[in-house]
């Protein structure tokens, strides 16, 4: 147990988020950045423990009990690292400074975790929600030419085989793709 593990009690961000629970995972939509995140079971537990009152060490103990992974503060820091980068924690300098040292891959290697147990290591996966045009399948040549970089979209031009709307210099143009 480390001194930081006892002293640091991170707090989860709650404002501007839409949260849905999905079995033991969590989907989070950030209304400010329009990013969506999927927290696996362990990351979900870490996030739930971020109530501003639970020390990292206590979270590590709870993870070991509920998920069945080794008791390790490094796993919790790894989760906090990812939650912080996903902007799902309130900005606590001590957490951000500490957590960056605990990339997920490093922690898996350091703890010698292999096989299916690796799936239990905290994981936060993120995507940027598309604007409607990005989610479409093609845009017309007229629309393409009317666009301004960087929103050229790279989408195919409707009705013109093998051409896409691609940035060229300061303009969007149809080019081979």
């Amino acid at each position: 147990m480390t001194r930081d593990g006892e002293a640091v009690m991170p707090r989860a961000r709650s404002a501007g988020l839409v949260v849905e629970t999905l079995a033991d995972e969590t989907l989070v939509y950030d209304l400010e950045s329009h990013t969506a995140h999927c927290l696996n079971r362990t990351a979900t537990l870490v996030w739930r423990c971020c109530d501003g009152q639970t020390p990292v060490a206590a979270t590590a103990t709870r993870l070991a009990r509920e998920v069945g992974i080794p008791t390790s503060e490094r796993l919790v820091w790894s989760g906090l690292n990812q939650l912080y980068r996903a902007r799902l924690l309130d900005d606590v300098p001590a957490v951000s400074w500490r957590a960056r040292q605990y990339a997920r891959r490093e922690v898996i290697r350091a703890l010698g975790i292999t096989g299916a147990v690796a799936l239990l290591v905290p994981l936060v996966e993120s995507i940027v929600a598309p604007v409607p045009a990005e989610a479409g399948s093609c845009i017309t040549l007229v629309e393409c030419l009317a666009r301004v970089p960087p929103s050229c979209s790279d989408l195919p031009i409707c009705g013109v085989p093998n051409t896409c709307c691609i940035q060229r210099g300061s303009k969007c143009q149809s080019r081979g793709c």
Partner: protein
Amino acid sequence: MENLDRLGWAADLRVRAYGLPIGIRTDEPQLLADLARRLPPGSVPAAIRRVERLYSVVGGGSASGRGLRRFNVVYANSVRVARSLGREEALSALETDLELYVAAHAPRRLFVHAGVVGWRGRAIVIPGRSMSGKSTLVAALVAAGATYYSDEFAVLDPHGRVHAYPRPLRLRDGVPPEAAAARSAPLPLPVGMVVVTRYRTGARWRPRRLSAGQAGIALLEHAVGARVRPAEALAIVPRAVAVASAIEGARGEAADVARALLDATDGARRPA
């Protein structure tokens, strides 16, 4: 908009598309039939006084004797979405804009850019951007016996079921199977499998399993209305993937993968 209203409009269409009241007016009545063909599938004529989206189409007419040509101009409400000498290009811009508008704003529906087929009472949903090979894989699945639902959108309802988007399958290369002509809308289905894949020359089909959350995030990544109605999108997606299995991997030839996908969907069936 007032300036547009002052122009002489000779004919109009009023329809409901996925619950959204849409109007289209034009100064050339002969354009109406072409415009009607470009409406989203399932659009129905409606006697509505007030529309949320009004398209104004100024036709370019036929070339005059003096060799002058007028532009075809399309406005969505008061915003110009196309100005082109080519009529097909202008109307195609209207079609795309209207489709995206409906996809982003349809009430109680979440449109996910995806290919969809039905297989033994379950939907196989293949989310992905253009050029990822969705349509080719959908065509191969249909050729292998699946029911065509869409090569463009998975239309999810609040229960997470997939509705067809019955537009004929369009392939960049090749001819789609006869069964993909989308004559009528089949029944909505629960999602049986989410397939995240992309064509890669020579790739061996060795997919890895995704969790329900990862499947959900894959759908959100291609959900047209995710930014417009995030809370609704986040409510629908978990229901859609609740009983689905999900896999991810690069694929080679579509025909080789199609049979494996249908078998995997059979093998993954779980009680709802």
